[in-house]
């Protein structure tokens, strides 16, 4: 167990070191912060509820750009290592393929969480400057984004174990989009008369991640109250979902040939 951690950690830190050299990541971070800042301008066009607009836009920007980073860095995560053959020497050491994959996942997750923290600081700065209120619920909203990122990075990692970055991006974006629509789909399907349609909508809802369950921005922006369970359940859901994805990813990565 300790041995595993000792092997996973250098992979994770090295992944982080490599990821923060990625220029795309800085571009996305830059635009994320830019949009958070620009929210002040947009809010000034409106006569009412300027602070809410600032925070709505700010939280949405954080979510969108950090997911963008997660997907675009994550899709090449495993594929790149196999393609460049850096795995040959790494896996010839006593590290298992699963440990390697977990290290890569962890490293990328740390990278995107780091970006999220940077954007959250920018968000807090802009909110404070505009006189918008900040509360614990705002922290929870950021935490929600962090949970969503954990799921999205796991999705990208999974696809990266068996397909090219192009296809992995396509699949991961698909999962992300449907993941945000799945509640609506389920609700819509539930109204259908045809039991097949109802079952299908239910099935999609169960299988694909329900990413809206991690969205607390409305609570933060409107100052609505949150019960501990409102956060705890989504958190458990995220952990379970990530574990399931990583389980599949390690299985695929373990059985495949590394040519």
């Amino acid at each position: 167990m300790i041995g595993s951690v000792l092997r996973i950690w250098p992979i994770a830190t090295n992944t982080l070191r490599e990821a923060i050299r990625n220029k795309l990541l800085y571009a996305l971070l830059f635009f994320g912060v830019l949009v958070i800042g620009a929210s002040v301008l947009i809010a000034s066009l409106s006569y009412v509820e300027g602070e809410r607009i600032i925070q709505d836009i700010g939280l949405a920007a954080m979510q969108l750009f950090s997911v963008g980073i997660a997907i675009f860095v994550g899709i090449g995560l495993i594929h790149g290592e196999v393609e460049r053959r850096t795995v040959y020497t790494i896996l010839s050491k006593s590290i298992t393929r699963s440990e390697f994959l977990l290290g890569k996942y962890l490293g990328l997750l740390l990278t995107v969480w780091l970006q999220l923290v940077l954007m959250a600081v920018a968000f807090a700065g802009v909110s404070a400057a505009a006189g918008a209120s900040l509360s614990v619920t705002h922290v929870v909203a950021v935490l929600g984004i962090a949970m969503e990122l954990a799921v999205v990075v796991a999705v990208a990692t999974l696809f990266s174990t068996f397909t090219t970055p192009m296809l992995a991006a396509f699949f991961a974006l698909g999962v992300y989009c449907i993941g945000h629509l799945t509640r609506d789909l389920n609700a819509l399907g539930g109204q259908a008369d045809d039991p097949v349609v109802r079952g299908l909508a239910q099935g999609i809802y169960r299988v694909l991640p329900d990413l809206d369950s991690f969205n607390f921005s409305l609570y933060a922006v409107h100052g609505w109250a949150l019960a501990p369970n409102d956060v705890l359940w989504p958190m458990l859901y995220a952990v379970g979902y990530v574990l399931a994805l990583l389980f599949m990813a390690t299985y695929i990565f373990r059985v495949r040939d590394l040519k």
Partner: protein, 336 residues
């Protein structure tokens, strides 16, 4: 191969470090395409403390065999063990070092950093890492470039990094895929010395190569693989002692009647006439030729065994292999 009785066979078994039995690997070039057999019933074994040369022409299946041994790809059939462990396991790799063909590393790290990374993966404590890495960098001749990023390294320098990482955890079995590739003559000598030192320390070395002079210089035993079939396995000495070997004998003051008899027997293999003649004879004839010549009052100037022996053995193995399995691919396609 002849073995020295049952007792000898038992001793060999106990000392086996690498054992490969009936390895088969089929590659499918793409979805829906027919598979191609790249390894065909490959078997060999490597004993403790020897340098084992795995020799064959390009595309023979050397790297594929090594990838199977390293657990990177799975065999279609057959078994392989290292130190008694099936190659699909990971833990015993603590005891194994690997230099891949044309190694590639994270190019944003320096030589020292990448070695530190591999040392951590191998579970070497922080206190031991620093001196170990410094010593290895010296051994492979990279002291001057220790803190330069790998993306600035030449092919030969990367090869040296590759050798250093293969040895970082003091493995008892070391696998090297083309260890001399990309190295200048001095570098090759240095690497040869490193390999010889590994053997002197009691480690086992398995190396893929097609540089025969290196094999002749350092290997104890070899396997020759051609088109995925093992054509020879055993000590180099046996390979060179083949019955079809020739020697060049140079004689002077040979009585003319003996000269004529030689000409009758060996024909165009006799060069020169009268005072000094040179004749190329099979090894097994050398003794009788010398006895007859000396008896007749001739003088022996020199007897030279042909030196391209390994090359000769290699080339004939490749020729035979190519002749035996020319239609491998077609046969496979008929019954995939």
């Amino acid at each position: 191969m002849k073995r020295g009785g049952q007792e000898g066979a038992m001793r060999e078994l106990a000392n086996e470090r690498i054992k490969v039995e009936g390895l088969v690997k089929d590659f499918r070039p793409g979805l829906g395409l027919r598979s191609r057999r790249v390894l065909n019933e490959v078997s060999f074994s490597v004993r403790e403390g020897e340098i084992y040369g795995f020799v064959g022409p390009n595309g023979a299946g050397k790297t594929t065999t090594l990838k199977i041994l390293m657990g990177l790809i799975r065999p279609t059939a057959g078994q392989a063990t290292i130190l008694g462990h099936p190659v699909s396991e990971s833990r015993f790799r603590q005891e194994v070092g690997f230099l891949p063909e044309n190694p590639y590393f994270y190019s944003f790290l320096t030589a020292r950093e990448i070695l530190d990374f591999y040392a951590r993966l191998s579970g070497i404590s922080a206190a031991d890492r620093k001196p170990k890495i410094a010593a290895l960098l010296r051994d492979v001749g990279l002291e001057h470039a220790a803190d330069a990023r790998l993306k600035t390294f030449s092919k030969g320098m990367l090869q040296r990094v590759g050798i250093a990482q293969a040895l970082i955890h003091d493995p008892s079995v070391v696998f090297l895929d083309e260890p001399m590739s990309g190295l200048d003559p001095i570098g090759r000598k240095e690497i040869r010395d490193i390999i010889l030192k590994l053997r002197a320390d009691g480690r086992t070395v398995f190396m893929n190569t097609h540089i025969l002079t290196d094999v002749e210089m350092i290997c104890d035993r070899v396997a020759i693989i051609v088109k995925g079939h093992i054509r020879y396995e055993g000590p180099i000495a046996d390979l060179l002692r083949g019955d079809d070997m020739d020697s060049d004998v140079v004689l002077t003051r040979l009585p003319s009647d003996l000269g004529i008899r030689l000409q009758e027997r060996y024909g165009s293999r006799v060069k020169g006439m009268g005072e000094r003649i040179e004749v190329r004879v099979p090894d097994k004839d050398v003794n009788s030729l010398l006895t007859a010549s000396l008896g007749a009052g001739a003088e022996v100037v020199s007897v030279t065994r042909n030196r391209h022996s390994l090359e000769h053995a290699f080339l004939s193995a490749v020729r035979e292999g190519t002749a035996s399995y020319p239609n491998e691919q077609k046969e496979m396609e008929k019954n995939p």
